[in-house]
């Protein structure tokens, strides 16, 4: 029977969203979806090499470059969530008082806080860097620790070292019950985190199953797909918000 390969980022896969969505699609179409979850860079790389049929990522600039270079076609906005800043329960740097993400980062440095960075060129890391840049802070500062690991591990390390970290809300909600950390800042529109699906370009890789891939992509942005995305919850909280503009 038909098989389809989807590359996605670890954080998306770990949230459990795909395990929630895909069985519905498989039941409906009989197409089996093989999910390969890797880092953002690696996911796009797999698409570029034609080893998967479509990708689902959250790194707008890298995705734009991916499409511009002709590796991918038909990018579709799928959903969004947002990034939040988490930190020790007692919030020693007082981030609960600040009014923007840039201020939050500036204040962390000013108060000698420790910050755990993804340091892996992932969507989250790119976002971090964007804010550091906007705040005019040169890296690394004294409390900056680049650990080069996935979101889950970064949260664990922040927990262990009682430090601050920038995280996507999905991973935070999935893990917060195991952590002695609190959400200390959220809401800046700079922290918006959009997800896209992109098909691998069949002109570059004639063997990709572009029809099946398009079927999945279309289904994801369809009313049914979007409804299911909104319905996915952990402990009563929604992790993702459907954002498809079609239909």
């Amino acid at each position: 029977d038909a098989q389809l390969r989807l590359a996605t980022t670890t954080s998306t896969y770990n949230s459990g969203l795909l395990d929630f969505l895909l069985p519905e699609f498989e039941a409906k179409t009989g197409v089996q979806v093989h999910v390969i979850s890797v880092g953002t860079g690696a996911a796009l790389r797999l698409g570029q090499d034609g080893d998967v049929d479509l990708v689902m990522t959250h790194a707008p600039e890298a995705e734009a470059a991916f499409v511009a270079a002709g590796y991918g076609i038909e990018p579709k906005a799928l959903m969004y969530n947002d990034f939040v800043i988490v930190g020790p329960l007692n919030d020693p740097s007082g981030l609960k008082e600040v009014n923007s993400a840039v201020d939050a980062f500036t204040q962390m440095v000013a108060r000698d806080a420790m910050f755990i960075s993804r340091g892996d060129d992932s969507g989250t890391h790119i976002k971090e860097n964007e804010i550091w840049h906007a705040a005019n802070i040169t890296l690394p500062f004294a409390g900056y620790r680049a650990v080069g690991q996935g979101m889950g591990r970064v949260l664990s390390i922040a927990d262990e070292l009682q430090a601050y970290a920038l995280t996507d809300r999905g991973t935070w909600l999935a893990m917060k019950s195991k952590l002695d950390l609190a959400l200390v800042y959220e809401g800046d529109e700079r922290l918006f985190n959009p997800y896209q699906v992109i098909l691998v370009n069949p002109e570059r890789h004639p063997h990709v199953k572009v029809d099946l891939a398009r079927q999945l992509s279309d289904w994801l942005v369809s009313t049914e797909g979007q409804r299911l995305i909104n319905a996915f919850q952990i402990e009563g909280e929604a992790l993702f918000f459907a954002s498809a503009d079609s239909e």
């Binding site: 770990n14 093989h34 090499d49 034609g50 080893d51 889950g152 999935a174 063997h207």
Partner: protein
């Protein structure tokens, strides 16, 4: 620690209840690793034997190279295989990436140097005397290899056990080359890695213990089959 024992208990209960998904993962792990081991073994036996009993040009180079390959991270082997097997790569047409055969290939490469090192050391322990005796009694080269392998069966067994351990416990290459696709190329170790990235440490440990229990059973089997032979150390 409370929660670890609880999770382990749950995992073992799942195991015993015949949970299809868990057994599927276990089956993939053992199938891939045992196949790789038995495909790598004959060549490794021959090479280890040749290195011990024959002197030939390049001998020293092979030993050094092999020892060096012992230090190759499995993820690097995985990377190289991905580049080779990817659709863009030279062997892309074989469509092997993210399949079990690709994982087997990776594990062959991973266990081979360890097998060679250990078998070489094993045969090295046999006096040249044994070789001379077999040959002068009219045994063929292959028969001689077989006789001498039996002389060091304990060390050969140790090599097998160590090489099996190396690949069943390996995660880097299995992850890269297999893709950790649920129900297809997901192994015990890639599952553990997945649980770990989710912060589900306890689940990871429970799966690790499942693996250990199965490895223990396998080793008990091997230990029993070895049985008598270890005791004869006299003379």
């Amino acid at each position: 620690m409370e929660s670890i024992s609880q999770a382990t208990f749950d995992a073992l209960a799942l195991l015993l209840s015949g949970d299809a998904a868990l057994w599927g993962i276990i089956l993939v792990s053992f199938k891939v690793s045992l196949t790789a081991l038995f495909l790598a073994l004959p060549v490794a036996l021959l090479l280890g034997f040749a290195l011990s009993f024959w002197r030939f040009p390049g001998h020293w180079m092979i030993v050094t190279l092999n020892n060096t390959l012992l230090s190759i991270p499995t993820v690097v082997i995985g990377l190289i295989l991905v580049l080779l097997l990817s659709r863009n790569g030279p062997f892309g047409d074989l469509r092997l990436l993210f399949t079990q055969p690709a994982m087997i290939l990776g594990q062959i490469l991973i266990c081979f140097p360890l097998l060679v090192t250990m078998l070489h050391a094993a045969y090295q322990g046999v006096s040249r005397h044994a070789w001379e005796t077999a040959r002068t009694l009219g045994c063929s080269r292959l028969k001689t290899l077989w006789l001498i392998t039996r002389e060091v069966k304990f060390a050969v067994l140790a090599a097998l056990v160590a090489a099996f351990g190396r690949i069943i416990a390996e995660v880097g290459c299995a992850m890269m080359v297999g893709g950790n696709i649920a129900g297809y190329t997901r192994t015990i170790t890639t599952s553990i890695a997945l649980e770990t990235t989710k912060g589900e440490y306890v689940q990871g440990i429970a799966l690790g213990i499942v693996l250990l229990v199965l490895a223990l059973l396998l080793n008990l089997l091997v230990g029993m089959s070895r049985g008598r032979s270890i005791q004869g150390v006299s003379q």
